[in-house]
Symmetry: C2
Subunit: 226 residues, 2 copies
């Protein structure tokens, strides 16, 4: 197909497709004349993936390029693909004072790993990210938020179990790699979305609404309710 | 204290403090001369919060300003503060084709809410976010990832229960508001970090490492292990 058809099939505008090509997010088509190239199903699939990474996953172009590179590398062991996908979606979390010494947060995370039997390489980006958040809670005088660590870890185990079951259900290694990338990048957004819903539902249970404010699901809002 | 002391107390450079002031992320100090102002503990606390929102939470300046505004508004009901904090950290998730009609993702999310007894207002940003991710899985040919919805929802309930317990443990309404903001914005990052760790641990359980690759926790890596 020509670029115009790639555009209509994927719903992505031609200038955006040219941007993807220029940024090496999309592999070149087969050139049929100096001004024309042919694209195939592999381009359709790639455009959809790139769009999902950028628009739904909220990745930068540079990080999306890394993820796409991991998919293309193919021969990487599965755990390396996880690593690349994980790093691509992990907000860089600078140390509070650029201190290389382990902090209270690092200690709490190490304890948690030991308690849960989580054995991982020390460069797992989640270790530093979780530790920095715990240190930040403390720096903001919100040590009480350290109490969420246990239930959050329980939740993370549930999620990771589901993630890996989805990977294992894929028919071959190429598909497994795709599940890892898509599920890691977009899974954070899915989980965040569900957390927002559950938070609001739970807040109505715990804290009554001010008088006169209609509750969700009441007569005035029923039509559009969740 | 003067700005130089605010800088040394918080570890944030003076030009950055001036940027916070200019961007209305930090309230002005009390002017003592045309070129000088005095800052107090409220400024220290605010600088720490803003830094956490921007650097650990990964928020944009505009979104951080909204969050700070919600904290300052004070009299908002708690569920509104939740709303602002939630919207500030929710990646905008455009509809696949700007279609206003409910999609398969919307339907799945509505079913899930009904099954779990999640009653929320229709403008909860998590509804659209979760639905868009499910639609994107389908568009990428990864419907098998819809299987994660149940365990993710279970995890979201655990997390939300812990979130609201932390809010309820705060001594007064100002503190509750702070817990909501800090816990919502940074809690996503904490959860993402723990998910990365649990994913890697689970992947070692399910998929053996290629031969010759030292496992985490083996003699060569013990020193720095999780």
């Amino acid at each position: 197909m020509r670029m115009s058809e790639l555009s209509s099939t994927t719903g992505v505008a031609v200038p955006t497709l040219k941007f993807y090509l220029r940024e090496q997010l999309l592999h070149a088509g087969e050139r049929t004349s100096p001004n024309q190239a042919q694209y195939d199903d592999s381009h359709v699939a790639r455009v959809r993936l790139v769009r999902a990474l950028l628009e739904v996953g909220g990745l930068s172009v540079a990080r999306a390029r890394e993820v796409v590179g991991a998919v293309d590398a193919g021969s990487l062991p599965l755990s390396s693909v996880f690593g690349v996908a994980q790093r691509a979606v992990t907000v860089p979390a600078p140390l509070a004072d650029d201190a290389p010494a382990p902090t209270e947060g690092d200690r709490l995370v190490a304890e948690l790993c030991a308690a849960r039997g989580w054995t991982v390489y020390p460069n797992n980006p989640g270790l530093a990210l979780a530790a920095r958040v715990l240190d930040t809670y403390a720096a903001l005088g919100q040590q009480r938020l350290h109490a969420v660590l246990e239930p959050y870890a329980e939740a993370a185990d549930l999620v990771a179990g589901a993630d890996l079951a989805a990977v294992a259900a894929a028919p071959d290694e190429t598909e497994m790699t795709n599940v890892v990338v898509v599920g890691t990048v977009l899974g954070d957004a899915l989980l965040a979305g569900l957390r927002r819903i559950a938070q609001e539902a739970e807040s109505f249970r715990r804290f009554p609404l001010p008088e006169g404010v209609p509750a969700p699901g009441s007569a005035t809002t029923t039509d559009e309710d969740c």
